[in-house]
Symmetry: C2
Subunit: 157 residues, 2 copies
DNA sequence: TTTGATGCAAATGGTTTGCATCGGG
DNA sequence: CCCGATGCAAACCATTTGCATCAAA
């Protein structure tokens, strides 16, 4: 992990690499699979016994997104969530992974497929729109829920 | 328009078809191309000289979404926006149209392409996830902006 | 007439900001 | 040392909610 932190630190250019900013990065590295919200980062940091103010977390998230280290997401639960932008996978475009959002249990799965490059090409040619990034969510029922209580309102973990 | 209103009214089942609810529907029909927010609906209604409270607008939007007449969207500008779900185009799945969001001028264009059915199939087979709907946004530069001030911060109309 | 719908104002909750203080480079 | 970063509390702002009143069916 230390290695990744160092790699990310190098992105900081003229911004200071403070313990708080480092802490936020660590939390993301330790919770790769999750999509953390500001509040959750705040909780997790105090669980770790670390000091950081909520306002600082918000400011840090904004910065990290600006630096391209984080991507902001919205899953419709009233708060912004973030995830680490994969720095590994050198070449491969990094914006290509999508979310499967279960309407029953609220779980969020990830897909790596990328049949979207083709669609992007069509859109670029047909509409003259230069695509920089995309954001794709699928709503439906995950393997665990598709058989049981199909339908009904979600619970939102 | 009267015809469409009537068609929509029939969706109301045991919910009352009040003048306020009718008003909101009218506003959407009169602004097909836009993605209206609660506040914008409020503005437009007073411009029309109609009476409706903001709280009522929020409650109406919630209901209309529940009835499947509206779809809630999030374009990252801090407020929810809605658009009419196409009731025409009988058969054709209705969730298949996507947004091109210009990072320069904030304009939102729509695409009708639907090469996503194929991707959906892959996802369903590979992940056992039953897809009900999807939501796709492309970020980039629209024809007007792609040549001029490429890059820089957005202005958000 | 009945019960759901409305409107107002107050409450909520995520996010932002002003400002004095702190500390990374 | 200096200026950007932090923390706290207050401010913001979209959305929600309690409650008395109103009106659609």
């Amino acid at each position: 992990m230390e290695k990744k932190i160092t790699a990310m630190k190098s992105q900081f250019k003229d911004h200071r690499f403070t313990p708080q900013r480092r802490l936020v990065l660590e939390l993301f590295l330790e919770n790769r699979e999750q999509h953390l919200s500001a509040e959750e980062l705040y909780q997790k940091s105090r669980e770790k016994g670390e000091e950081i103010g909520l306002a600082t977390i918000y400011r840090t998230l904004e910065l990290l997104e600006e630096l391209g280290l984080l991507q902001k997401m919205n899953f419709g639960d009233g708060r912004s969530r973030y995830e680490l932008v994969a720095m590994d996978k050198p070449d491969r475009h990094q914006h290509h992974h999508h979310h499967l959002i279960c309407l029953e249990c609220g779980r969020i799965l990830e897909v790596e497929e990328d049949l979207l490059t083709r669609l992007e090409k069509v859109v670029e040619e047909k509409h003259g729109f230069q695509i920089v990034n995309h954001y794709l969510q699928f709503f439906g029922y995950c393997p665990d829920c598709r058989d049981t209580g199909k339908g009904r309102k979600k619970k939102r973990a």
